[in-house]
């Protein structure tokens, strides 16, 4: 991704790749409501977005949170994906519709309104919601906004939807790739609460390629495992995260290997966008765990580093604190019973070896160089509306016990993270 210096430049670059695949229309609308049952009398705004296929599609896929208390939209969407057709999504921000007293009935009422307006059977409609947990959907206001939403349907760009689904996101996330005569366009939202299994993350993939449903499901599952499930902003996994994909089948698909590579590229790109956009993220950390006994252990060890509050706070402070990385790895290995021999462990930051065979290899000059490196790769912790750059802090852990590797992405821990999450609802 290029370097941007303002939001306009960034949005222009997204617009260039935002064309909807053939066979889809999309629209967004805004509405006002008050969460008066919570005593909040100040009206708030909610955005509604929809993506509608020209006919009921037989090829679609979904991957959902493993949170044991999934939100109502997750429950409904998971069930509907067992059916034979899907035609449209309805997405709202602001209220996650989790644990609300009449959550399921509320969601169905709103979806039924959309179905009537568009002439689509309700069972072909999927809901997706993100926002505060526990609040009820403003059903009347949402239903009233449906006609206006449908009037706005257009075929040119998915960017308005990428913008509509943002919550605390600082910038819209959209990636696309051309494949044969068709394309895949994907959007995502997510900023805090990002840990394995795509926490408070919504991602939507659309393509006009012709791909069998079972292939689509396998590809989406693998893409999520290799991208959204390898990032962490704060280790929290939400009740609402989901990734959905719809294929309109207008063009022949390329060989599966090509499709797979493209999907993973899209997923990893969006995953990186999410981390870079993490609430108050001052550095993106890319932790590569090499020479592990197997890939899942490599992922677990990498996540232990990017989820350690002490490591995260040190990186935020531009402190190349190797001791905390070392301690986090040992803690994780002890807790998860992973064989890890300190005598065979090496750690590198920015390619410089800072631990060899379990012994620290640090000196004053190296510490200074690494601190300067961290400063150079920092980004503003303020929401700029665009990614400042695409640089990361590169940490490599070499276990010396096997031949497997994995890479995970995480954010540091800044004052701004705390502020944003202490005041989210106020």
């Amino acid at each position: 991704m290029a370097q941007f210096s303002n939001e306009g430049e960034y949005l222009k670059s997204l617009e260039c790749r935002a064309a909807l695949p053939e066979g889809f229309r999309s629209a967004v609308a805004q509405l006002r409501f008050t969460a008066s049952e919570m005593g909040l009398e100040t009206p708030m705004s909610m955005r509604l977005a929809t993506v509608v296929a020209d006919e009921p599609l037989s090829s679609y896929a979904g991957v959902f949170t493993r949170n044991r208390f999934p939100g109502t939209p997750v429950i409904i969407a998971r069930e509907r994906l067992q059916g034979s057709r899907v035609q449209a999504l309805l997405i709202n921000n602001k209220v996650a519709n989790v644990g609300a007293p009449n959550g399921a009935a509320d969601a169905e009422t709103v979806l039924a309104g959309l179905g009537r307006q568009l002439g689509i059977a309700p069972e072909h409609l999927l809901p997706a919601s993100t926002g505060v947990i526990g609040w009820s959907l403003p059903v009347a206001e949402m239903s009233a906004a449906i006609p206006e939403l449908c009037e706005g349907l257009q075929r040119t760009s998915l960017l308005p939807v990428a913008q509509a689904i943002m919550t605390t996101d600082a910038f819209a996330k959209l990636r696309s790739v051309e494949l044969g005569n068709g394309r895949v366009v994907a959007i995502a939202k997510g900023a805090g609460m990002i840990e394995p299994n795509m926490a408070t993350m919504l991602a939507f993939f659309f393509t006009d390629l012709s791909i069998p449903r079972s292939t689509l499901q396998a590809l989406l599952r693998e893409t999520c495992d290799l991208s959204f499930n390898r990032i962490s902003v704060d280790g929290d996994q939400s009740t609402s995260d989901m990734a959905l994909m719809m294929a309109s089948g207008r063009h022949a698909a390329p060989p599966e290997s090509e499709l797979r590579a493209a999907m993973i590229e899209l997923g990893c790109g969006l995953a990186e966008d999410i981390v870079r956009n993490g609430e108050g993220t001052g550095h993106v950390m890319r932790v590569s765990v090499e020479q592990a006994r197997d890939e899942s252990e490599a992922v677990i060890l990498g996540k232990a580093v990017i989820n350690s509050p002490l490591v995260k706070a040190a990186i935020y402070g531009n402190d190349p604190n190797v001791g905390r990385i070392f301690a986090a790895l040992g803690d994780c290995a002890g807790t998860n019973d992973i064989e890890l021999d300190p005598g065979r462990l090496s750690i590198f930051i920015a390619g410089e070896q800072v631990l060899a065979d379990g012994r620290f290899r640090l000196d004053a000059a190296k510490e200074r160089r690494l601190s300067e490196y961290l400063k150079r790769n920092a980004q503003s912790t303020q929401a700029l509306g665009y990614p400042e750059h695409d640089r990361s802090v590169e940490i490599t852990v070499s276990c010396g016990v096997g031949a497997f590797r994995a890479e995970v992405l995480g954010s540091d821990l800044s004052y701004e993270y705390v502020r944003e999450n202490a005041d989210y609802r106020s």
Copy 2:
């Protein structure tokens, strides 16, 4: 514990319970050194502390970190506890002696000096260290300080040792209990990096009761499991934590049940001191998980709540954000494959029900009351040098699936935590 309004009052209260059990002496000393291999030319101060029994003891016990990369003192102490006698401890702060190039030899050199001075065989001496990981012990300066240290040995108070082992601790931690004709006195240090298995935590228990070594080991293990292993400041488990106990055997011990209750009371008291004193702690959270299927699941679920950055940040912001507690529990249950039925789950804050059978029970008045409750139970995030009060934020989770319960203690997540941990070494 009473309420204190300044450090002097608090120290006076500790002094009243700080008398050493019979058969022990203690001393502290201070020294200056420079971490010149790290390019830090400003001299730093380190404190040394020792507790010496009048003769080699046959009754002692130790519990250690499960971090797979334990520090040198952990490795040495763990090995020596396999022997037949222990007579003294030597404790230093500032340098943890973890991963340092000649860590073992350095520790042995310093211990040998203490042994020569006191006429104790080196294998009867245990080291304990806390501080920065990766740095080497300043062996010359520590050895030079040994004679002065030994000159200061006294029998009156353990409080100077409790103060000497502090690192980022805001106040000294000391608890004691009278039992029969003897007593148990315990001290601890630890502020950040506190998670299961007593991370960067040192705890030392001394008694003049006569207790068989095997009983002592079992009691210390159980005490640690029920106290230090049920608290969390930041989820990080250090390479250096240990709890040690020595018994001089001067008085007959009471029945084991009485001893057990006393030990657990001491351990839980110190554990609460540690959380209250956590780096930047603005609230202590006490999470009680009831009606769980078994005790270990109750502990895991409770820890998921106190370790969720989103829950912690909300509590810091005096926001009774039930949604985040609910999401953290569901995340934990999904990840750890714990059976948890949202329809049977209830959550209470300060005794008020906020979730019943998986549905949120919140209204504006209740939210206001709970926010006020959080404000009332906040403490200063600045290090005052004494605990302001002993109030906690009481959260109860009722799983509705079994008959087991457990309680865990954790701290919130404040700006000050980040500041302290971003700048620790500077």
